[in-house]
């Protein structure tokens, strides 16, 4: 067993025995820290997805009130009511996520903030049911089939067992298909959609997961305290949990635990000191606010990296064995795979593309060239569904272009002119993103590690793709450590992992060394022999002329020439576009 795993077991054992050795006063504090840690872990995942909620306290409240009120009124086993209230919270979160996460711009913090205030004011105002601001007592303890859990130490142990399971699940998730996709959400939305990730749905899932953890924590809280009132679920709690997630750091669920323990201890210490000075009111918020700002300014990755420095590196998941089955294509030069009809797009006053018609047949290798600003990358974005044309239509296998995250499922993959690799993932994990659409395992299978066989095949596919482009030695390295040329080749490997029938390459040779260019040409020839259709945008004319069968020349948004490389090279309009001079005369 790896050292890291043994360390994790040892630390878990300490957390699980702590409730039995601590003095009884500290058992309660320790249990509270565990409850907040659970909420903070959910927030850590949300931060990893580039989102933030300012209403986690309210989700705790919904879980707590839902379970407490039903159990108190109907005498049902509280474990049942807890499951019900957590499910109800998940529905509410899905609704909020659906309304806000489809929108461009950042509405989630505002929406959760507003929702949090609204919900707490309902708890306070709905006096007949909730007991209003003074709360309700006689909440039943946690129970199933009449067995009640009333022992504080055992309860604290239970809470920490759940926290540790959450940390374990999150670390499994991080190395799973869904985890790799979550890592793209913060900065690489377009790339993720090109490889089949429905980023909106995934964002909603992550948000719902964070709300579920908060609701579970709220339920555990209320059945431990056996008293429910609005104040523990106020905005202050949401902010406190946010600080915990930020202090611990967004890199790992363990950060949430560290943040919760740090902040809970700090709060007790501060309140003690302030009380000795004779201060009244929540003056510790001044310090908390400053901690939050300073952490983000100076240590945006939180405390976890300082701890992780002393730990051995986690073992990567195995990439042995066979890859996923590949599509075998037959030669069929008549089949039109991609057809562009009268494509035009306008950005404000700029007509970036105008009446572009183009066809790609199976197995063709077409070069798309033109001076800078001719509209090549814009055309790529339209073909891959990231931009919608003002006029005209794109037909993929004679059907209308589907939503951008479904395009790869129809066999089209691409690379990006500006390298879009996720720095938080290793090289092989980035390549594995290419095979996202070819596999199934979802959020829950990743969380409970039920995806091992499939994940291994995905990683094997990624390893084979890396071997093909000659980068197998770099598989386990951090992506950012590669030079730019190699990063471009990783982009190609990722597209290969998607098993494409059509491959769009946007300036793959820019910044490549000579030997790397030779590898690129070899890979392209190999793909051509496998009847993969390739559309290549490239400025290296020697490479383009040596590879492609047909050239399309774009200038100022229009196609000015088309044909075999030798014909195009002699075309006066093309020469004028590249070398300047009077284009009108040439045309």
């Amino acid at each position: 067993m790896p050292i890291r795993g043994m360390l994790a077991i040892a630390v878990s054992a300490v957390f699980l025995t702590a409730p039995w050795v601590l003095p009884s006063f500290y058992v309660g504090i320790f249990a509270y820290a565990g409850i907040y840690a659970l909420v903070a872990i959910g927030l850590v995942l949300l931060l990893q997805a580039g989102q933030i909620s300012l209403g986690q306290g309210a989700f705790m409240g919904l879980g707590a009130y839902g379970s407490a009120l039903v159990a108190r009124a109907y005498g049902v086993d509280t474990l049942v009511t807890l499951v019900l209230s957590v499910s109800a919270t998940a529905l509410v979160a899905a609704l909020i996520g659906f309304v806000t996460l489809r929108l461009r711009g950042h509405y989630l913090p505002l929406a959760t903030l507003a929702y949090g205030i609204a919900l707490v004011s309902v708890f306070t105002a709905w006096h007949d049911v909730t007991g209003g601001a003074s709360g309700l007592d006689k909440i039943p303890p946690l129970s199933l089939f009449g067995f009640a859990l009333t022992d504080d130490r055992l309860y604290s142990q239970l809470i920490w067992a759940i926290v540790l399971l959450a940390v374990l699940g999150m670390s499994r998730l991080r190395a799973s298909r869904t985890g790799r996709a979550i890592a793209t959400l913060e900065s690489y939305d377009g790339m993720a959609r090109s490889f089949g990730v429905d980023t909106t749905v995934l964002r909603i899932k992550v948000f719902v997961f964070s709300a579920v953890l908060a609701a579970l924590a709220g339920g555990l809280y209320v059945h431990m305290l056996r008293f429910v009132s609005p104040s523990p679920f106020s905005l202050m709690t949401s902010f406190k949990v946010l600080i915990m997630a930020v202090v611990g750091g967004p890199l790992s669920a363990a950060g949430g635990v560290i943040g919760a323990l740090t902040l809970e201890s700090a709060q007790w210490a501060l309140q003690d000191i302030l009380a000795r000075w004779g201060a009244t009111g929540n003056l510790e918020v001044i310090v908390f606010g400053i901690i939050l700002v300073v952490m983000l300014l100076k240590w945006p990755l939180g405390l976890w990296p300082a701890v992780e420095r002393f730990l051995p590196k986690p073992a990567g998941r195995s990439s042995d064995g066979e890859g996923l089955a590949r599509t075998v294509m037959k030669e069929d030069r008549q089949a039109v795979l991609l057809r562009l009809q009268g494509i035009g797009i306008r950005f404000g006053g700029l007509q970036a593309l105008d009446a572009v018609d183009m066809e790609l047949r199976r197995g063709e290798f077409v070069g798309l060239i033109g001076p800078n600003g001719a509209g090549k990358t814009t055309l790529f974005s339209i073909i891959s569904g990231l931009l919608h044309p003002t006029n005209g239509s794109v037909l993929l296998s004679n059907e209308k272009l589907p939503a951008s995250h479904s395009i790869v499922r129809r066999g089209m993959a691409r690379t990006f002119q500006h390298v879009q690799l996720v720095p938080e993932l290793t090289v092989i994990e980035n390549v594995a993103l290419g095979a996202y659409w070819r596999t199934q395992a979802g959020f829950l299978r990743g969380l409970f590690a039920l995806d091992n066989a499939e994940n291994q095949r995905v990683l094997a596919t990624a390893r084979l793709a890396l071997e093909r482009v000659g980068l197998s030695a770099e598989a386990e390295l951090a992506t950012a450590s590669l030079p730019l040329g190699k990063q471009r080749i990783v982009e190609i490997a990722r597209a290969l992992a998607a098993d494409p029938q059509i491959l769009l390459l946007d300036e793959p040779a820019a910044g490549l060394r000579f030997s790397e260019k030779l590898t690129l040409v070899r890979v392209l020839r190999q793909l051509q022999a496998e009847h993969v259709t390739i559309l290549l945008v490239e400025h290296d004319m020697e490479l383009v002329m040596g590879c492609v069968e047909r050239l399309v020349v774009l200038d100022r948004g229009r196609i000015i020439a088309e044909g075999a490389p030798s014909e195009v090279q002699a075309n006066p309009a093309v020469i004028a576009a590249y070398l300047g001079g009077s284009r009108d005369k040439a045309a």
Binding site: I52, L103, H106, L110, A114, A125, N282, L283, L292
Partner: protein, 340 residues
Amino acid sequence: MIDTALFLLVDGLTNGLVYALLALSLVLVFTVTRVVNIAQGEYVMLGALTLADLLQGRMPGTLYLLIGGLTLCVVLDGSRWRRDWRQALLVVLGAVAAAAFAVAITRGALWLKLPVIGMMAVALMLVAPLGVLIYRFTVHPIPNASTIVFVIISVGVSMSVQGLGLLIWGASPYAVDPIMPGGVMMGPVFIPYQSFAILITALLSMGGLYLFSEFTLVGKALQASAMNRRGAQFCGIPVTAAGALAFLLAAAFSAISGMLLAPLITANYEMGFMVGLKGFVGGAMGGLIDYPLSLAGVMIVGALESTSAYVASAYRDAIVFSLLIPILLWRSSRQRVEGH
């Protein structure tokens, strides 16, 4: 019945105008700096409590914040001392001069026993610079951070400033005099003069901002920074200064709205946060970038607030904040129409 409706309408419009100044601040800050400023409401509190102190003849506690902030500024620039002592000396002298000026005008105003409107001007001069200081401490060091990071930072600022407000002014509420006491009967409805003052100030502020943005070079530079930060930088516009200016103006607008609002409710250390959030709910209608739509949004918020306060007062906040859901749904349907 009609009387009640009219009364609610006037009340709602008055509230709406106060929130409008907030929405104006929020849009200004967001467009120029990409900061979704959760802490914007705290300037409302600072404005109101500073005015309350001045009207009761006390040195306002805001001076502690101002002088403390200036000191922190000097300390943070400490690394410059060795490299460039002239610049450092200028910073120190500037900070000392600013602090001395602030104390002097406050003492002068208290000695002269200025009328309410004069005291408002003094309070404004004390509160608005705090916006620049907070910009210097929180946004300036990391200008290219993501929106999420700025949201979280502004939560931290809001917590700290509210805590400092509690430390300085305590938890007790303060009464603030209106600009002019009394009011006038218009038909069946009594309208306090303060409501007119709010209307006039809101119109002057909005008009002033419009004229400033459209007809002055600095205003145009501000607009350019809002539209395209990098492009503006390439044109030689100091975008950092533009950000500081946006924070200054936003702090000023919010402080004014606090001073106008305080006589209608009572001022305490918690009052700002909620006002700021209601500005947000309205501002969300314009996506935090569109001034006219944001104004429409805050007017709806104001009207809904006074109606729900009358119909179901315990649920007022719940109703007002739930309004965000239909507003966001409306925005996403518009987004669909735009075809993105």
